[in-house]
């Protein structure tokens, strides 16, 4: 138990400190790196909760794919820090307001969960963890059996979003020579070159 407590405090502290550094780091690339650390420690917290499947998904999806693309974009961008900081004072009140609402909502939700007020009739995911089913199985059952129609609907929404993104960015340029891979692969010495035996001093007339 003591080991778990130590692990919890270390990882929780890492998450909070990394989260703070995300907003306070001067270099945007450093911000993304801190963000990755905070994702990673959050995954560690999931493991402590016994939700190892979610933890691995968090690492695979967010750290392994989304954050790589973030990093990719941020590294390629030439960000002008001075211009970014100019708006800081102007947007400060609005930002504080949003932050205040968020904090209040989080406190309310946490107290509701802690006092089991809101979640009383909805115990299914927790119960599954104790009945000898691995949590991958429990999530699979909830997602693909109990709520399969909602899952399919979410899939459709994502599909539409994907098609939308492609439609918005696809440009057909006329006059572009495209590679035809089959032709490249099927090229043989016979079709690719001709052997000629020129007479000395005459050259080749092609």
């Amino acid at each position: 138990m003591a080991l778990q407590a130590i692990a919890f405090y270390v990882m929780a502290a890492a998450t909070v400190i990394a989260g703070f550094c995300v907003v306070s780091a001067r270099n945007p690339v450093h911000s993304v790196l801190w963000l990755i650390l905070s994702f990673f420690s959050a995954a560690g917290l999931f493991v402590l909760l016994g939700a190892e499947f979610l933890a691995m998904l968090l690492v695979v999806v967010y750290v392994g794919a989304v954050a790589v693309l973030f990093l990719f974009v941020v590294m390629m961008l030439d960000v002008d820090f001075a211009a970014l900081r100019q708006g800081f004072a102007r947007y400060m009140p609005l930002g504080l307001l949003v932050a205040m609402f968020l904090a209040a909502e989080m406190v309310m939700v946490s107290t509701a969960v802690a006092s089991r007020g809101a979640a009383k009739g909805n115990d299914a995911p927790m119960a599954a963890a104790h009945s000898g089913v691995t949590n991958a199985e429990a999530i699979g059952r909830v997602l693909y059996t109990d709520y399969v129609y909602f899952f399919q609907a979410a899939g459709l929404v994502l599909l539409v979003a994907m098609i939308g993104a492609i439609v918005l960015t696809l440009r057909h340029k006329p006059g572009v020579r495209r590679q035809i891979i089959m032709n490249q692969v099927l090229r043989t010495p016979k079709s690719g070159m001709t052997l000629v035996n020129p007479k000395v001093g005459e050259g080749i007339d092609a």
Partner: protein, 353 residues
């Protein structure tokens, strides 16, 4: 409390033992790689240090360690030094769940295969950070290439892994290995489960090949070593590195190659099981049976690594657009269809049973 202390000490000893053996293996794998490369080119390869040049890797290690550590002036110092450390930590950390022999893996977790997938997908950070922190054009281009390449091939690796998970019905690597017991005809490469799953050989054999090739791309191994293509990018993300940090990168790369070979052995070639029925193991003492398993696991890993090394010495380097085309237009659709076919087959054959 003392129990927890003893457990901690034992686990640390276990981790140390596996790490030391792994590092020694890597030293000789590097030597073997160079020897195979040399053999294909009709050269002798390393043959000076120690008998047959066996100690070459250790001589190289000594050389790297005593070289001067140079940090480029414009480099982001912290990230520059962090990058190789992250690479090597992840590459060694992945071995925590590897089922090297019955009961010998450090941690037998339920989502072992996902853990390996997650850790190997994190490997890209070492390279991106190294390339960016060097503050130089070639490393940066190498890092970008590497990031795009690794993210692309992870997708197909993910789908191939899903077919294996479907066959085994579990994400636990020990369970996946156990399911392939009883002879080579039960290996996932050959359909996983002899008579009734035999038709799946048509799917699973190509999946094994796709996994092998994607593994090459994921570890930046030739013919997919574009991040360090010397004719285009000097040494890619490692241009500005020297001394110990460079050695760490090199170590991580080799550890990842061994990891991919080991993973191929576990997922498709039956892990620690011999290619024949192992009824005789029942009368053996436990440790001897585990040793028997370790021998077969190691043999399979080295066999896959040998193929890896042969590919490296025989196949010419891919062009970058061909690499992307192979990943997204060939492997991704193929493995996606394979997931559908395998799950359909499993449902179809289980309906009557």
């Amino acid at each position: 409390m003392p129990e927890a202390v003893i457990w901690t000490l034992l686990t640390v000893a276990h981790i140390l033992a596996i790490t030391v053996v792994l590092l020694l293996t890597i030293a000789f794998i590097i030597y073997g790689d160079r020897k195979i490369f040399a053999g294909v080119q009709a050269r002798k390869g390393p043959n000076v240090v120690g008998p047959f040049g066996l100690l070459q890797s250790f001589a190289d290690l000594g050389k790297f360690l005593i070289k001067e550590l140079i940090i480029p002036a414009g480099a982001d110092k912290a990230v520059y030094l962090l990058a190789p450390i992250i690479s090597v930590t992840l590459a060694l950390g992945a071995w925590a769940v590897m089922p090297i022999a019955p009961g010998w893996s450090v941690s037998n977790i339920n989502v072992g295969i996902l853990y390996l997938f997650a850790v190997s997908s994190l490997g890209v950070y070492g390279i991106i950070m190294g390339g960016w922190a060097s503050n130089s054009k070639y490393p940066f281009l190498g890092a970008l290439r590497s990031a795009a390449q690794m993210v692309s091939y992870e997708v197909s690796i993910g789908f191939v892994i899903i077919t294996v998970i479907l066959l085994a019905g579990s994400m636990n690597l020990n369970v996946i290995t156990e399911k392939q017991a009883g002879g080579f005809w039960n290996w996932n490469m050959f359909g996983g489960g002899f008579p009734h799953n035999l038709p799946l050989i048509l799917i699973m054999f190509p999946m094994g090949v796709i996994f092998f090739i994607s593994g090459l791309a994921e570890t930046n191994r030739p013919p997919f070593d574009l991040p360090e293509a010397e004719s285009e990018l000097v040494a890619g993300y490692a241009v500005e590195y020297g001394s110990t940090p460079y050695m760490l990168f090199y170590l991580a790369e080799t550890a990842n190659i061994v990891l991919m070979s080991g993973l191929m052995a576990v997922l498709f070639l039956g892990g620690w099981h011999a290619p024949w029925p192992e009824g005789y193991l029942a009368s053996w003492p436990n440790w001897l049976a585990s040793l028997h398993g370790l021998v077969f696991y190691a043999l399979k890993t080295f066999a896959v690594f040998f193929m890896n090394a042969m590919v490296r010495s025989i196949v010419p380097r891919y062009r970058y657009d061909q690499l992307m085309r192979l990943g997204w237009k060939v492997f991704l659709p193929t493995s996606l269809v394979a997931v559908f076919v395998v799950s359909g087959w499993l449902i179809y054959t289980r309906v009557g049973a």
